[in-house]
C-alpha cells in the first residue's frame, strides 16, 4: 500500500540536498563579498601573536599539561582555533541569519519552495559551520607553520573544529530566533566575550577554585578548547568523549529548537 502510494506521488528530494541549496545561495552571495569572510580570520591570529608570543615570552614554560611543560603559544593556539571556529559560526548565524530572517525576509520566499523549516535551519547552520571551519583551517595552517603542533592527532583538529562550528552555529541560529532588535545583539557579545576569556583559553582550568571549574565545564567553548588542545598537543584522554558528547548534544538540541522557533515565526 505504501509502495503504491509512494509510486503515485512525485519523488521527494532528500533533506540534505534541500538544505544544500540554501548553502549554495549563500555561497553565490559571498562570491562577491569574500572580504567579509576573510576579515574574521585575523582576530584570533592577532591574539596568538600578542598573547601567545608576547605574554608567552614572560610566562616561559610555566604551563604544564598532564604534568609536561609546554610552550605557552602551543597552549594558547588551539584555544584560539576553537574561538575562531566559534566566531565564524556565531557571526554568521547571529548577525547574518537575523538580517535574512527579519529584513531580507528570505525564508518567507524559501518556505514557499520544497524547503521546510528544518531544511532552512540545517542549511544555514551548515553554511555557518563552513565559515567556522574555514577560519579554523586557516588557523591550523598558521599553527603548523609556527611549529605549534605537537602531535599527529592534530589531523583530527579540523573535523573537531567543524563540530565546534556546528554547535555554535546551531546555538547562534536558535538564539537569533529570539532576537527582536539589533540592540539585543549586545547580549550575544556579552556572552561571547567571557566565553572567549574564561574557557581555559589563556590558562589551565585548574587555576580556578573547584566550584568555578564546574561552572566553566558547563559552558560550550570550554569543551571546544579542551577538545582541540587535547588533539594538537596529543594529550588524549577520556575527557575527550565528554567534550564530544557535550558538543553533539548541545548542537542537536539547538538545531531542533531553531526549527521549532522558525515554524512558530514563519508558518503561522
Amino acid at each position: 500500500m505504501i509502495a503504491i502510494l509512494a509510486g503515485r506521488r512525485p519523488a521527494q528530494v532528500p533533506a540534505a540536498r534541500r538544505a544544500s541549496h540554501l548553502v549554495e545561495r549563500n555561497a553565490i552571495l559571498y562570491r562577491r563579498e569574500w572580504s567579509l569572510i576573510v576579515s574574521g580570520f585575523f582576530e584570533p591570529l592577532l591574539y596568538l601573536l600578542a598573547i601567545g608570543y608576547g605574554v608567552g615570552s614572560l610566562v616561559g614554560s610555566a604551563v604544564t599539561l598532564n604534568g609536561h611543560p609546554i610552550p605557552y603559544a602551543a597552549f594558547v593556539a588551539p584555544a584560539l582555533m576553537a574561538t575562531s571556529a566559534m566566531n565564524g559560526a556565531v557571526y554568521e548565524t547571529a548577525f547574518n541569519f537575523f538580517y535574512k530572517l527579519k529584513y531580507v525576509k528570505l525564508y518567507d520566499a524559501v518556505l514557499a519552495t520544497p524547503l521546510g523549516v528544518a531544511d532552512v535551519a540545517l542549511g544555514e547552520i551548515v553554511w555557518a559551520l563552513i565559515r567556522g571551519t574555514l577560519y579554523a583551517l586557516g588557523f591550523l595552517i598558521v599553527m603548523a607553520g609556527l611549529g605549534l603542533i605537537a602531535s599527529p592527532w592534530a589531523i583530527l583538529a579540523l573535523p573537531a573544529a567543524m563540530l565546534i562550528g556546528f554547535t555554535f552555529a546551531a546555538v547562534g541560529t536558535a538564539a537569533s530566533t529570539f532576537v527582536r532588535t539589533w540592540q539585543d545583539f549586545d547580549l550575544v557579545l556579552i556572552v561571547m566575550i567571557p566565553l572567549f576569556l574564561f574557557s581555559a583559553t589563556f590558562y589551565p582550568i585548574t587555576l580556578y577554585p573547584g566550584a568555578l571549574q564546574l561552572v566553566v565545564q558547563l559552558t560550550p567553548l570550554y569543551h571546544g578548547v579542551d577538545l582541540l588542545r587535547s588533539l594538537t598537543t596529543g594529550s588524549i584522554g577520556p575527557g575527550l568523549v565528554g567534550d564530544l558528547v557535550y558538543l553533539v548534544v548541545l548542537g542537536g538540541a539547538a538545531l531542533l529548537l531553531a526549527a521549532v522557533r522558525l515554524q512558530r515565526l514563519l508558518l503561522k
Binding site: 541549496h21 540554501l22 514557499a112 519552495t113
Partner: protein, 314 residues
C-alpha cells in the same frame, strides 16, 4: 455545494476550510474547487481572509479545521511535494535583496532542485518573458514596483508549476504596470496554466477569472463566473447620480419606483435598472437635479455592494 465524483480531479478541493488566529476567525468554513486549466479568483476587501486562504493552499499555513487537498495531496503531510509543483506570488514581494536579478531566479530554481544548466536557461527565458532581460545583472532594490512584481512572477514560474498562486498581483502598481502584468498572466492562461488569484479590484477579477468566489468577513458570500454573478446579483445597467454634498437625505422617497434597487452611498446614488437612460429621464421628470449622471454596465463592484452593503475598496 454537493460533493460530486468530479471533485477528485479538482486541483484544489476545500470543504469547511477554516483558519483561526488566537480568537480571530480569518477563514470561516469555506468550500471551493479549482479545476485544471481555469483561472479562479478570490475577490474581497482587505481582511476578508484571502491571504490566509492562499497561504493554506501554498502549504505555509496549517488549516485550523476542514479538509483541503491540493494537487490531490494533503498539505499537512505532503507540503514539500505540493510546493514542488506550485508557483507562488505572495502579497508582499519576497525577493532576495542580497542577490542580483538573475541570481534571484537561479537560486530559486535551485531550491526546487533544478539542475544548474536548466536553471540558468530558465532564468534567461523568464527574464525575457517578463521583459526584464536588460536588468539581469542589476540589484533588486532599485527596481520599480512593477518590475519587482514581474520578477516575482517570473520566479514563481521557474519550476514550471502546475498551479500558480497570485496574491493581489497588481495591488499598488500604476495602470501601465498593471496592464503589463495582466498581459503576462493572460498569456500563461492561454498556455493552460491553472491560476488562482486574489484581488480587491473588480476589473482585475473580471478580466482574468473564469470563475470566482466573493469573500467577505472570512466567508464566501457568492460564487460563479463574473458574468453569471453580475446577472444574478445586479441589473444590466446602473445609473449613477451625484448630488451636491448632503443632498442625499432630501431624496427620501423621490426615487421610488424608478429602478429595481437604489443604493445610496456617501458620494453618489446608484440606481439598478435594465434601462439606464429611461431611469435618468424619469429622475429629471421628478424634478431632481443631480450634478452629474452616468449610465454604465454593472460590474462585480455592484455585485459586492449588493451582497455586503459595502464597497470593495473603502
Amino acid at each position: 455545494m454537493a460533493i460530486s465524483p468530479s471533485d477528485t480531479t479538482a486541483l484544489i478541493h476545500a470543504r469547511g476550510l477554516s483558519k483561526r488566529f488566537a480568537n480571530l476567525v480569518a477563514v470561516d468554513a469555506i468550500d471551493f474547487d479549482v479545476d485544471r486549466g481555469e483561472a479562479f479568483g478570490f475577490l474581497g476587501p482587505n481582511g476578508a481572509g484571502k491571504t490566509s486562504t492562499m497561504r493554506m493552499i501554498g502549504c505555509v499555513s496549517t488549516p485550523s479545521s476542514g479538509t483541503l487537498s491540493v494537487l490531490g495531496m494533503n498539505p499537512i503531510t505532503d507540503g514539500p511535494r505540493i510546493r514542488a509543483r506550485l508557483g507562488v506570488v505572495p502579497q508582499a514581494d519576497t525577493l532576495d535583496m542580497e542577490l542580483h536579478v538573475d541570481e534571484n531566479l537561479f537560486t530559486y530554481a535551485r531550491y526546487f532542485d533544478i539542475p544548474r544548466d536548466v536553471a540558468r536557461r530558465r532564468a534567461k527565458e523568464l527574464l525575457e518573458f517578463v521583459q526584464l532581460n536588460d536588468r539581469a545583472k542589476d540589484e533588486v532594490e532599485p527596481l520599480s514596483g512593477g518590475m519587482k512584481r514581474r520578477l516575482t512572477i517570473a520566479r514563481a514560474l521557474v519550476n514550471e508549476p502546475d498551479l500558480l498562486l497570485l496574491d493581489e498581483p497588481t495591488t499598488g502598481l500604476d495602470p501601465q504596470a498593471r496592464h503589463l502584468v495582466w498581459d503576462r498572466l493572460y498569456r500563461l492562461k492561454q498556455q493552460g496554466v491553472t491560476i488562482v488569484l486574489t484581488s480587491h479590484y473588480m476589473d482585475e477579477a473580471e478580466q482574468l477569472c473564469d470563475r470566482l468566489v466573493v469573500m467577505d468577513k472570512a466567508k464566501i458570500v457568492a460564487s460563479g463566473s463574473p458574468r453569471s454573478l453580475i446577472d444574478r446579483y445586479a441589473t444590466r445597467e446602473v445609473l449613477e447620480l451625484r448630488f451636491k454634498i448632503d443632498a442625499a437625505p432630501a431624496l427620501d422617497g423621490k426615487l421610488e419606483g424608478i429602478a429595481d434597487r437604489v443604493e445610496v452611498l456617501p458620494d453618489r446614488v446608484l440606481l439598478y435598472t435594465q434601462d439606464g437612460d429611461a431611469a435618468a429621464a424619469a429622475v429629471h421628470e421628478r424634478g431632481l437635479q443631480p450634478e452629474s449622471t452616468l449610465v454604465r454596465r454593472s460590474t462585480l463592484e455592484d455585485v459586492f455592494l449588493r451582497l455586503t452593503g459595502r464597497s470593495l475598496i473603502e
